[in-house]
Symmetry: C2
DNA sequence: AAATTTTAGCCAAACGATTTAGCCAACATC
DNA sequence: GATGTTGGCTAAATCGTTTGGCTAAAATTT
């Protein structure tokens, strides 16, 4: 079975209105250059409405070079740790894009050469008019592909100061969380983090150190626990267990870079006979769906991925239109969600 | 700053090879209609390679009506309960699509009129060549929009027997889980489910009943606990607490339609002083990221969303090409993951 | 040798818009 | 009255392909 659409062309509208196609086009696109009499404009508008005319994207695209599609270049890992973030991100992009009828295309990226080629071809083809680049590494191969070719906005951090970026305020987030623990009286606060090749880890370390220093405490590198590679419950468990075995005296609090890591910390603590929050206060990140339902419920820093990406998309659309984007880098604030795992609850109750 | 691509046209290739554009086109597309001498073919291929020619999608699309883009029409709820499924789904679609260089476009749908209009326009514009329709309701407004207009495949269930659908084998899944509980000696097995307007709930009820009947047990509607609306820990908690309060004697096992519901069941059980798995065996669904890390770790039925959607995408591509799709409805099997919450572990250990 | 078929490849017309250059009144200016 | 100006519209080029129809030349048949 062949599926065919009918499709009213601009020519038919022109004939119906008794004018040329050029006139129809200029009425519909409201070009300043060519003026058209009010009476004629009405006739054209009326004819277009009556015939149900919709300009064909493809034809427009061919002529103007604008596809009205945005690309989301997202790293897709085999596990689904980042899935809530991805979900929110897509919602944010869709929300910003649909207002003007833009489409959102997913350009997955897992680091394979083959996908890089597909991305390149997508860009060369102008299948999208701009790209949202998620979480690029320092020497990300996608960056040179994009540069000078298409407008793009980085979601995350990017060392190039010319690039427009939108990111969570990770420094503030970590500072907030650390300050909270300091206020609860903790002085030995561990930091469980992914390797510092991830920019997010650097930023959060910065916030952690700032809070400590402002409180007059010196930074102790012995309290850092680096995971082997990535996020995940297992990774957090291993990293924190390692830390506990290394130290003579356990810390009284832990800041974990992600809720999955925090969950691992919880397990390691339990195994070591440390009670949370009585012996050990734990704070996570990202307010994952399960965070409210662990035992004990996890105090965590919520990030607003949907908003973040909505802003990024807005910026990208402006970039595509050629409008200048005001601040090159934008930070979205985060919010501390206090639950039981940090001990603030039990203090209140006592 | 204006971004412009260079773009080698077919005309330049034709000139370089000393042939007409028609010849170039037919060499590159391998048209059966027009024969071309081996020697000329070589010259054309060589010229195209040397100049780095890549046919422009947009121009091809305008001419042929094929965009080489697939649409994913996914329901996006405000909470991110479905995010792991969504993530896997996108990965699956991408995996199947990228082999032939197809793009994947997200057409979000939250039931708003405005989005329906956008979908309609997307279809009319032929911005995509086919659609993967996720989880349509019985009288889904997207269905009439699609029918007879574009090729599409339903991921989930669809009452229309003409429509190509791919779904998890929910009947088998529920049967598997129930049989497992029966083998462990349970005779009073509760079923916590979302309302039966969701096709998934109907299917899983069916599997549950089949397992019971094959074991010679009669189905008892009193053991059903329907949630108020949707998935989520809270929903599971409320539904199961309601059931416990309603029954004289609690069930010895529970099958919950989703891991989030199961987590709620766990909480309700704890509050009622029931120990899991000693007093109550619990089985969930979907093998969510947190399922392995609850207390106790959750026995659950894993579904293969990525594979599911990969198959669906393959079928859609075939449909677009006009090839007939062999079985109209395809079921992807599921797998029982045994952990501690069902009690099978402790039995083994004893 | 003439007639026919086959082969190889070219021409030009789409596809459906946008946009530039230009035409022709009508009106204003000196 | 000759010379701009301007408003209102159109014809035609263009974007980069695909493809049905066609034509020479070569090969084959009669």
């Amino acid at each position: 079975m062949r599926h065919r659409g009918k499709g009213v062309t601009i020519r038919e509208v022109a004939k119906a209105a008794g004018v040329s196609v050029a006139t129809v086009s200029s009425v519909l696109n409201g070009r300043a250059h060519t003026r058209v009499a009010a009476e004629t404009r009405q006739r054209v508008l009326e004819a277009a409405r009556r015939l149900g005319y919709r300009p064909k994207r493809l034809a427009q695209a061919l002529r103007t070079g604008l596809t009205y599609a945005l690309g989301l270049s997202v790293p897709l890992c085999p596990d689904s740790l980042l899935s809530p973030f991805f979900y929110e991100a897509v919602k944010g992009a869709l929300k910003a894009a649909k207002q003007k009828g833009w489409l959102v295309t997913i350009l997955g990226f897992q680091g394979q050469q083959e996908e890089l080629a597909l991305l390149q071809s997508t860009l060369e083809q102008r299948s999208v008019d701009g790209v949202l680049l998620f979480d690029p590494q320092d020497d990300d191969p996608r960056l040179p592909l994009l540069k000078g070719r298409l407008p793009f906005v980085v979601v995350g951090r990017c060392s190039d100061p010319e690039v427009v970026t939108v990111d969570n305020d990770n420094v503030q987030a970590a500072k907030l969380a650390t300050q909270h623990l300091l206020q609860l009286g903790h002085r030995r606060i561990a930091f469980v983090h992914v390797p510092f090749c991830f920019a997010t880890a650097q930023d959060r370390l910065m916030g952690y150190r700032m809070a400590l220093e402002e409180a007059g405490l010196s930074f102790d590198a012995n309290l850092l626990a680096e995971t082997e590679g990535y996020y995940g419950v297992e990774a957090g468990y291993r990293a924190f267990l390692g830390l506990l075995n290394r130290l003579r005296k356990p810390p009284t609090a832990v800041l974990a870079m992600d809720d999955t890591l925090a969950l691992g910390v919880l397990q390691a603590a339990q195994q070591h006979g440390l009670r949370v929050p009585d012996d050990l206060a734990v704070v996570g990140f990202n307010d994952s769906p399960f965070a409210a339902h662990c035992e004990p419920p996890l105090t965590t820093v919520r990030i607003f991925a949907e908003t973040l990406v909505e802003y990024a998309t807005d910026a990208l659309l402006r970039l595509i239109r050629g409008e200048p984007v005001a601040p090159k880098r934008m930070l979205v604030p985060t919010q501390l969600i206090v639950r039981a795992s940090c001990g603030a609850m039990s203090r209140k109750n006592n």
